[in-house]
Amino acid sequence: MKAAVIVFPGSNCDRDAVCALRNHTTRHVHRVWHRDSQLPKVDLVFIPGGFSYGDYLRSGAVAARSPIMAAIKEHALNGGLVAGICNGFQILTEARLLPGALMRNAGLKFVCKSAALTVENTKSSFTNAYFGQPTTSIPIAHHDGNYYADNETLDRLEGEGQVIFRYVDNPNGSARDIAGICNAKGNVLGMMPHPERAIDALTGETGGLGFFESLANAMAGARK
């Protein structure tokens, strides 16, 4: 079981992601620089939060066109797991690995607070550990987290079980309270909340532990 954390200039949750994966998912975590054109052999690609390229032009827009993205697309096409958190979610939509877009928060301000979530699908590779406990709480910290897609896309996401997390109390104007989605195949996920910040009672919450445990389960299952 191996994972890669992609580092863009401006990523700032890469260290937190590496720590969380190492402690709760797999010991084998590589950092991969955005300019690389190849991924090491991994089961999971993790795109961390931050402000890649300063979020200039649009959040995630420049990163989505960087050299490593071709390899990530191929990894996803082959069924490999991809998780994008916050800026990672923005990058995945910009790269069209996930539908929709993340717009400026409805309140126009950066929002950093704990967000109560419902886990809408507890069978996914990212959420299987929440089975039987479909609510959790994970902090958000973003300026552009207002999920948008046209109604047809939203209906399809809901119909196919691709809405993974929903906000209990919508903090940013997201369509249908969406906090996280996956692709049709279920191997690519994007979410605005930061599970890597919710794994230690001392620093706040533990609602993100299930996320990393789910990934460990999924990667173990895929190996069998």
Partner: protein, 737 residues
């Protein structure tokens, strides 16, 4: 400054005065050079000798502050202070003002303030791990206040959030005294290994001088001079001098510099802050005892046709100057290019002792470094303290319904929740934040990554006390920082300060500065809490009206076991409430008097430093022994406000009895210093009471935790109503038309 040749023409007194130099300072320059400086040289002298860079009004007084102690690795004089936090690790920190730029352009002013203070910290080899901000705005109803609050907060968030350093704490006050001059003081705390700390002394001649980071433009030229003058009606026309920050470049600069520091290539490193290339190169050369020669044609430039003096004084952000060991340029170049940052070899250190600048093949500046750095003016400005206020007598105060007063105070500008502000800051990135703003603790608590240790960090000042009595106010600011850190269970180690005052050329303002420093010095000495870094911001005046004197203190303490960190949000049903410290009911200069009676009068509460130390040491010991559910220091609004904050954070009501022989106003809202409110499990009460008495501290059980109301001497206040008022004030101000 219309052409290169003009740069070489000799300057005169009138031009020197235009740049803020006095006649006597001009005389010193003539004397040291033996000739008039040319225009470029004059520009360089004017910034190096500005108040902002030379501390010419404050230097002799700052010397009174204790700067040594067991924990101190490097005191004032470098980019930031360095203290020992055990295990071969160091904590590097500093607070700095960005007041003038933030008033003129709040978003960029505040953002670049955050960027600048971070550079001071990572320049020394530390990874920044926490940011705090001490903000003072004008009256809430003042026409400019809302726009300033929203711009400053967005700017702080926009920069810190992007760079990925958590903003964990701070303070925000509103007072009409800041209508014309807001204060934006930013503090940054970083962690380094003690064997990998970098200083600014560029020892050795012949070494390459490397410029890295963003390109140089005409931003902020004469910013240091602007920070050394009063505002007038014309100031807002000076808008183009404000710098623009780029947090994305800052983030890459941090990563690239920390990477280069691992290679052993660096002799000295400085960020280009106030007075940009001038002060960074002069300081490195002066401290290293060398000269420096720079070829200005090699400076990466964003604009065309820049004159030498413009390049030397530019305050373009996100730039660093590095002196490398010879032959190591390639290593540095590879790292900075990988991070997509400009890098240029712009000169060398020399053995001439001079700063020599060439531009388009001509020498445009050749001046000895010594006078620039060491002969900077050092004034003993006259000072005359206003007569001290007499002690306020509360006898003639109208009767008080403590529940009503509590509701009013808790939704007053200074006490109301600042959630609207701190929810715009990323407080958790880096995943080591244990307590941040809103985290119900007296200080922010940040774990030292990969260890069980944590830092406790606090920012404090009570300007109304300093205005009433600068000596007591200075003392109190230091004591409150020490108290806040102790209340969390941490051992206070050292402070940084940011001294914000008006025009020092006015004796009554100079007196505030002098007496506040005296008070701070006394508190630092008694509490064993040395000053390791700091900043002075003077001339915070508009049209002859000075700000309230505001010596902001940033304190840092250490917790060996992060899991023992204590806050005020853990009070449990059935806990006893114990008041520690002596209560006389001091209402002079209190929040109660200001908010309820609209009176800003009376001497401020004195701080008994020996008792302060005794009570703080005791609180720390019972916190670490695990005997408390919650603890809160008593400050603005006294006992009742501390209890209300504890109740709100713990989500449970409480009862407090009335005071013996004191009016409700004096008992509940008096601001006697050195006090704490403890919530203690019933089984521990006797032990805590007797231990406190043994330690010689006044202590009494004054109430209990439970219910959904705060009951003050029989007067009830529903927690929900209190919370609505407390949480509602700032959103109402900012979002209702």
């Amino acid at each position: 400054m219309s052409g290169v040749t003009d740069q070489l023409s000799p300057a005169n007194l009138a031009q020197a005065q235009e740049l803020g130099l006095s006649e006597s300072e001009w005389g010193v320059i003539l004397d040291r050079l033996g000739r008039p400086p040319n225009q470029a040289e004059l520009g360089i002298f004017s910034v190096m000798w500005s108040e902002h860079c030379s501390y010419k009004s404050s230097r002799r007084h700052l010397r009174k502050l204790p700067t040594t102690g067991d924990c101190v690795i490097c005191g004032p004089g470098e980019n930031a202070g360095v203290i020992d936090i055990g295990d071969g690790q160091a904590c590097i920190f500093k607070m700095e003002s960005h007041n003038h730029p933030s008033f003129i352009e709040p978003y960029q002013g505040a953002a670049t303030g955050v960027g600048g203070i971070m550079r001071d910290v990572f320049t020394m080899g530390a990874r920044p791990v926490a940011l705090l901000n001490a903000l003072r705005f004008g009256a809430p109803e003042h026409a400019k206040t809302r726009a300033l609050v929203s711009g400053v907060v967005a700017g702080i968030g926009g920069y810190g959030n992007c760079v990925g350093v958590p903003t964990v704490g701070g303070e925000t006050n509103f007072h009409s005294g800041y209508n014309g001059n807001i204060l934006v003081n930013a503090m940054c705390v970083g962690i380094a290994d003690q064997d990998s700390i970098f200083y600014s002394a560029a020892k050795g001649a012949g070494n390459p001088v490397l410029y890295v980071g963003a390109k140089t433009g005409r931003d902020g030229i004469h910013g240091a001079t602007m920070a050394s003058a009063e505002f007038d009606d014309e100031t807002e026309a000076k808008r183009p001098t404000v710098q623009v920050g780029d947090p994305f470049t800052e983030k890459r600069l941090i990563e690239a510099c920390l990477e280069l520091m691992q290679t052993g290539c660096i002799i000295a490193i400085q960020d280009m802050g106030a007075a940009g290339l001038t002060s960074s190169s002069v300081e490195m050369a002066d401290k290293g005892g060398v000269g420096i020669a720079l070829n200005l044609d090699r400076v990466p430039q964003r604009e065309t046709g820049m004159m030498p003096v413009e390049m030397m004084l530019s305050e373009s952000q996100e730039r660093m100057l590095i002196v490398l060991r010879q032959g190591q340029e390639a290593i540095a170049r590879e790292i900075f290019e990988r991070w997509e940052l400009d890098v240029a070899l712009i000169g060398r250190t020399t053995d001439t002792g001079h700063m020599v600048l060439t531009h388009k093949g001509e020498v445009v500046c050749d001046i000895p470094i010594g006078p620039l750095a060491d002969d900077a003016p050092n004034y003993d400005r006259p000072w005359r303290e206003a007569p001290l206020r007499s002690v306020f007598s509360s006898k003639d105060l109208p009767p008080c319904n403590p529940a009503n007063a509590l509701q009013i105070l808790m939704q007053s500008p200074d006490m109301a929740s600042k959630r609207w502000i701190w929810e715009q800051y990323d407080r958790h990135v880096m995943a080591d934040t244990i307590r941040a703003s809103g985290g119900a603790a007296d200080a922010a608590i940040v774990r030292v990554h990969g260890t069980d240790k944590a830092l406790a960090i606090s920012s404090d000042c009570t300007p109304r006390y300093v205005a009433a009595d600068a000596f007591e106010g200075g003392k109190q600011a230091v004591a409150e920082s020490w108290r806040n850190i102790s209340a969390c269970g941490a051992t206070p180690l050292a402070i940084t300060d940011c001294l914000n005052f008006g025009n020092p050329e006015r004796p009554e303002i100079m007196a505030q500065l002098v007496r506040a420093i005296d008070g701070m010095a006394e508190a630092c000495a008694v509490l064993g809490f040395p000053v390791v870094s700091g900043n002075v911001s003077l001339y915070n005046e508009t049209a002859g009206t000075a700000i309230p004197p505001t010596p902001a203190i940033g304190g840092v303490g250490l917790l060996a076991d992060a899991s023992k960190a204590m806050g005020f949000g853990g009070a449990q049903d059935g806990d006893a409430l114990i008041l520690l410290g002596k209560t006389k009911g001091w209402l002079g200069s209190s929040l109660y008097l200001r908010e309820m009676e609209n009176r800003e009068e009376g001497a401020p509460p004195p701080v008994d430093l020996a008792m302060e130390r005794c009570a703080g040491d005791f609180v720390r010991s019972v916190v670490l022994a695990g005997e408390l559910s919650a603890v809160h220091d008593l400050s603005d609004g006294g006992l009742a406000c501390a209890a209300a904050e504890m109740a709100l954070a713990s989500k449970i009501g409480l009862h407090l009895r009335g005071g013996d022989r004191l009016s409700d106003a004096a008992w509940f809202f008096g601001e006697d210093q050195g006090r704490y409110l403890l919530a203690v499990k019933p089984s521990q009460v006797e032990g805590v009471l007797s231990a406190a008495k043994m330690a010689g501290i006044e202590v009494e059980q004054i109430g209990s935790v439970g219910g959904d109301k705060i009951v003050l001497n029989g007067a009830p206040l529903a927690l929900d109503a209190l919370r609505d008022g407390h949480e509602g004030w700032l959103p109402n101000l900012m979002e209702n038309e």
